[in-house]
């Protein structure tokens, strides 16, 4: 048989061997049998040199074309077998639960507080803070709360077991005094914080709870400014459909003093017309005098409310104690 005839038949055999290799090791074995150093096709190539000179170019071309064909077939079969080998033995069940990387949740009181703070900051307020252990001056006297005022009753306030009778602040208003003692107007602050009242815990009371209040002192501040800011904050907090009502009230540290009721679809769903939400008023001149501001020059307003109350309304929570139990199933809901 001529060399060229042998090339054709060995090529056909090689292609057949590659195609029938069932896995990658078998494929490599087939490759060795034909293209390896001792392979059959390699042996044919070695015979090229023994041909007459004039036959060599044509024969060389034929042999090379055949070799390229075998190598292409080898590459294609290898890719096919590799892909087959990579497919997992068992199919993945994509309906199985994934491997979770759970992120934690911020406490609902933190979330509500930050939302309120953000609403105030948008209006140019800075966040302020003060101590939770207070003295009577900052908590009551400077705020124009008379000695016989019920708020000062030991029944309602926690005192520390110390001779100077420090107390746990009953409202964040004590921070107003601390800031005004240190800074000159204009003042524009929002004060979130913990406060304490000597109430036994029940569905609506906890001895520890949170308040937030705003204080604005400048020249020419009016009740109109107060109403405008309160409305802006509550619209942001409770939605644009919220309606507010201001009722005259009494707080010792504001004059005039107002209570704020609100209503929206949620309130009406609760079967009520209005819900009380906050207290406010124009800072009492006596308070300004107590911190050394001239009430003839400066005017201002303050308003404050309970954070738990807002959170309970927002999420429909009916028991304040849930906030402090930190049940992980509760926390995971916010």
């Amino acid at each position: 048989m001529s060399l060229l005839a042998q090339v054709d038949s060995v090529k056909a055999e090689a292609l057949g061997a590659l195609a029938s290799a069932a896995d990658l090791p078998a494929l490599e074995q087939a490759k060795g049998a034909y293209l390896g150093a001792e392979g059959r096709f390699t042996a044919l190539m070695k015979q090229l040199g023994s041909l007459p000179r004039e036959e060599r170019p044509a024969a060389g071309k034929t042999v090379n074309a055949a070799k390229a064909e075998i190598e292409a077939a080898l590459g294609a079969r290898r890719s096919e077998l590799e892909l087959r080998a990579a497919v997992p033995r068992e199919p993945a069940d994509f309906t199985l639960p994934g491997r979770r990387r759970p992120s934690g949740r911020l406490h609902p009181l933190t979330q509500v507080t930050d939302d309120i703070v953000r609403a105030f900051r948008r209006l140019g307020f800075a966040v302020a803070d003060g101590p939770e252990i207070e003295d009577e001056r900052h908590c009551f006297d400077a705020l124009n709360t008379p000695v016989d005022h019920p708020a000062r009753d030991a029944q309602d306030t926690f005192f520390l077991d110390q001779p100077s009778r420090p107390l746990l602040r009953t409202h964040t208003s004590s921070v107003q005094i601390r800031v005004m003692e240190k800074q000159q107007p204009p003042i524009r602050i929002v004060i979130p914080g913990r406060v304490f009242r000597r109430d036994n815990a029940d569905a609506t009371h906890n001895p520890t709870f949170h308040q937030i209040e705003g204080l604005y002192v400048d020249k020419g501040v009016t009740v109109g400014d107060l109403k405008g800011t309160v409305e802006a904050v509550f619209r942001e907090l409770l939605g644009d459909d919220v309606k507010l009502r201001f009722r005259p009230h009494y707080f010792s540290y504001t004059e005039p003093s107002l209570e704020i009721d609100f209503t929206n679809a949620l309130v009406r769903k609760l079967g009520k017309e209005w819900l009380e939400i906050a207290g406010c008023g124009m800072v009492h001149p006596k308070v300004f005098e107590n911190v050394g501001y001239d009430p003839e020059v400066w005017s201002g307003w303050a308003f404050g409310f309970g954070i738990e109350r807002i959170a309970m309304l927002r999420y429909g929570i009916t028991d304040i104690r849930l906030f402090y139990e930190n049940d992980s199933r509760f926390l995971a809901q916010f």
Binding site: L96, P97, R99, R100, R101, P102, S103, G104, R105, L106, H107, L109, T110, D114, V117, G124, F125, A126, V127, A128, D129, P131, E132, I133, A154, F158, F159, L160, D161, Q162, R165, P166, L168, V179, Q183, P186, I187, R188, I189, R194, F196, R198, N200, N206, P207, T208, D218, F323, Y324, E325, N326, D327, S328, R329, L331, A332
Partner: protein, 824 residues
């Protein structure tokens, strides 16, 4: 626009240095874009008078003289012989240089020095030293000093004495588009006059009286009065066109204009001086109508061709304004004259135009032709219609002075509808309301008067004597050059400029952001919360009031209530941990066994009789580490102390805190079964971390290990470092060497790191622990540690032997430093 110091000084007095002038102009709203000092001739050379002449003590041919220089007396040592006391001579002051003589490359600088031990403060000069021809300048040629004329003024610059150019300063000013009046020397001088209160010297424009001829020398026909509401023309006859005198040429050249001839130079000079562009025509080249030269101001025919002075033939649009004679266009109005009527050396009779053209039309024509000139620049912005006649008169006077000739007839002033001066009302109290300062009425009105405004509705006498602000508005007549003053607030701005904006005190921002130190803390606390939540921890909010039993186990320094409600709420929390343990207990009782939480809150401790509150952050972990999953050997692994430590490390890194050190407590405590204290910078106590004592855990129904950590948040915040800076990414490959070794159980990771650090191995980038093993093949009381060491240089690929050498040092340090037995 360019102005020079000396030119301004011709029109107003001011005592400012060149630098101060810059500053003042800038604060007036005229920005100085560039300042160029021009040195004059004989800089530093003044006229001096010899007061006495004595022989030098150490030299026969020298004399020691006392000399007056106009400022004081100086001692000068001099070698010349041709002078005596009383003579006036040129004196060059120390710090100045003599002009270089031919052949010299370095000018000769004069310094204070000693000549034969006698100090000399300057040098008296010869004509040769100054490079002056003595005879040509009217002096006697002789050896020695140049003896000046006896009438020379002592102290005068020699340049002034000789009539040569003196130094000057050129200011390049940026004139805002609303103030076309400032595109002139007079305009700038007027601002300086208003600021200083010194009078403005307006250039003279006196012409010899001429008999008013019955026949006008020229006729002006305004056919487009909407585009040219005013056109003035003057005729000068018998003018000799020639080069300009030195003062005229130098004035133009200093501000960047080329000198052409005396007539054209005068028109440019007056434009620079007054802001009014002018044009001079050769009258004899104008066509006549009925024997009289006639000017027609008309719109061009669409497509009309016209060759401007620059020789370019331009095709005009129908709305271009042309100055024409009865037969042809002779000037592109307000932009450029025509070649056909240009002033030439042979010109005898001159027609001088001074007009006012409508700005938008000039702008449109100039833009469509791509032609912008000094004239169009000024007309575009709005010239002063009120000075058209004056500026022409001023130019005529200067042409007579520089080129001779005479005025023929009176001016022709075509101004069919004179513009009435505008009036703007100002309520003086509005000035204070807008500026925020109380200015006396006298000051307000003084500033406006200085700018040329006149109160028309109220006499100055009605001004309040005590200077209080009154409500009655004052109507101010606006001068024709101030096209920008249109309403009250424009006048207030003028008052602010002249009063000085820098003198208006700043007041705190109104309605702006409030401020409190806690504002920034709030943000960091939120950042810490989000960071911990991102690591999978839920946030808890515990009670501030806790029971004293658990509280005292956590900290002995508790603050007790005087009037507690109950024994489980009778003290303030000294730590967040008791509250968190309570939270774990609550969850365990609800069968929530896997809890990972944090809390941020305040704690209260008694120390030294003082009650202190401080922020803390605490972490509590119990139960399974990972979320439930259905596969994996470690899936039910419980949390251990390394979980809590990883959280603390991650938080510290996020806050940019370094130098956190951990030290294990040797013995269990009542609270902890095993724990570590955490310190910052080796000193300050940051907190603690560990596993809760099983007795306490059991008491709270907690079965799995309870891992707790608590940090002083105040300290964390104080040490927080929020700044980040980029380090270039490595550009060269690293080499890694792994080391496994056996060490005694007492050898800590920190001790290994310290030993490695002590090796000072070059290019060691990172050291990473990747395995800790006890058991098979490791003796009791020992452990196997495996570390990966990465070597990398920033500037090259490390060679293998370099890495090998560095790594050998590390291995040696491990053997000697921590007694490591290396595992091969």
């Amino acid at each position: 626009m360019k102005v020079t110091l000396n030119w301004l000084r011709e029109h107003v007095d001011f005592a400012w240095s060149p630098e101060e002038l810059s500053e003042r102009l800038t604060l007036l709203g005229i920005e100085v874009e560039g300042v160029q000092k021009l040195s004059g001739e004989f800089e530093g050379v003044v006229v001096a008078q010899v007061l006495s002449r004595d022989k030098h003590p150490n030299a026969d041919k020298l004399s020691v003289c006392r000399v007056a220089d106009g400022q004081g007396e100086r001692q000068i040592v001099c070698g010349a012989q041709n002078f005596k006391a009383g003579d006036k001579v040129p004196l060059i002051l120390p710090g100045s240089v003599l002009p270089p003589k031919s052949g010299e490359t370095q000018p000769f600088a004069i310094k204070v020095g000693k000549i034969r031990n006698v100090e000399s403060h300057g040098m008296m000069c010869s004509a040769a030293e100054l490079g002056i021809d003595p005879v040509a300048t009217g002096h006697v040629a002789e050896d020695g000093l140049l003896i000046l004329r006896p009438d020379a003024v002592v102290g005068q610059p020699l340049a002034a004495y000789l009539g040569r150019a003196a130094g000057d300063v050129v200011y390049d000013l940026e004139i805002t588009p609303n103030r076309p009046d400032l595109n002139s020397i007079v305009g700038i001088a007027r601002e300086i006059a208003a600021l200083t209160g010194n009078p403005l010297r307006v250039p003279d424009a006196d012409l010899p009286a001429v008999a008013v001829d019955a026949k006008a020398p020229v006729v002006v026909r305004l056919e487009a009065a909407d585009l040219c509401p005013r056109y003035t023309a003057r005729v000068l006859r018998g003018v000799r066109v020639g080069p300009s005198p030195d003062w005229l040429r130098s004035s133009l050249e200093k501000v960047g204009l080329r000198s052409i001839n005396n007539v054209v130079d005068v028109t440019n000079f007056v434009m620079l001086e007054t802001g009014q562009p002018l044009h001079a025509f050769d009258l004899d080249l104008l066509a006549k109508l009925d024997g009289v030269p006639t000017l027609v101001v008309r719109r061009a025919a669409a497509g009309e061709k016209f060759v401007t002075l620059d020789g370019v033939e331009r095709t005009l649009a129908a709305d271009s304004l042309l100055i024409a004679d009865p037969g042809k266009g002779i000037a592109l109005a307000g932009i450029m004259g025509g070649r056909n009527t240009e002033i030439q050396p042979t010109t005898k009779d001159v027609l001088l135009e001074s007009a006012w053209f409508q700005p938008t039309n000039i702008r449109r024509t100039g833009k469509s032709l791509g032609l912008r000139t000094d004239a169009s620049y000024r007309f575009e912005r709005g010239a002063d219609i009120g000075i058209a006649e004056y500026a022409g008169r001023r130019a005529a006077a200067l042409i007579l002075a520089t080129a001779g000739g005479s005025v023929d007839g009176d001016v022709v002033d075509a101004y069919p509808a004179p513009v009435a001066p505008r009036a703007v009302a100002l309520r003086n109290h509005k000035v204070g309301e807008l500026l925020g300062i109380a200015l006396p009425v006298a000051e307000i009105e003084g500033h406006l008067r200085h700018l040329g405004l006149q109160p028309s509705a109220r006499t100055p006498a009605a001004t309040d004597e005590d200077g209080t602000v009154v409500d009655a508005p004052v109507s101010w007549t606006i001068p024709s050059w101030r096209v920008d003053l249109k309403r009250e607030v424009d006048l207030i701005e003028e008052v602010a400029r002249l009063h000085g904006v820098d003198k208006i005190p700043s007041t705190p921002p109104r309605g702006a952001k409030g401020s409190h130190p806690y504002d920034a803390v709030h943000d960091v606390l939120m950042e810490v919360r989000r960071c911990l939540a991102a690591m999978g921890l839920d946030e808890a909010q515990g009670q501030t009031l806790v029971g004293d039993a658990l509280a005292r186990a956590a900290s002995p320094d508790v603050v007790a209530l005087a009037n507690p409600l109950s024994s489980d709420m009778n003290v303030l929390r000294p730590s967040l941990l008791p509250g968190l343990i309570d939270t774990l207990r609550h969850n365990a009782s609800r069968r929530n066994g896997d809890v990972q939480m944090f809390e941020i809150g305040r704690v209260f401790v008694q120390s030294g009789g003082q009650t202190r509150e401080g922020w803390r952050v605490a972490v509590a972990l119990t139960g399974r580490r990972d979320a439930p999953f259905w596969s994996g050997a470690d899936r039910d692994a419980k949390c251990d102390v390394h979980d809590a430590k990883g959280i603390v490390e991650e938080l510290a890194e996020r806050l940019g805190i370094r130098g956190v050190a951990w030290s294990r407590r040797a013995e269990p405590t009542e609270f902890w079964v095993e724990s570590a204290t955490i310190a910052l910078g080796g000193k300050q106590e940051l907190g603690q971390l560990g596993q809760l004592s099983p007795a306490l855990a059991r008491r709270n129904d907690l079965r799995d290990p309870v891992i707790l950590a608590e940090l002083d948040l105040g300290l964390l915040l104080a040490r927080r470092n929020a700044s980040r800076s980029f380090k270039p990414l490595p550009g060269f490959p690293s080499s890694r060497r792994d080391v496994a070794m056996i060490v005694a159980e007492s050898v800590t990771h920190d001790a290994v790191l310290a030993a490695v650090k002590g090796a000072k191995a070059q290019n060691l980038e990172t050291v990473e622990l990747f395995d800790v093993f006890r058991g098979k093949h490791v003796a009791d009381g020992h452990k196997s540690l495996a570390y990966a060491f990465t070597y990398r240089a920033a500037d090259r690929t490390l060679k293998d032997d370099e890495v090998q050498a560095a790594h050998a040092r590390v291995l040696e340090a491990l053997k000697t430093g921590v007694g490591a037995t290396l595992r091969e």
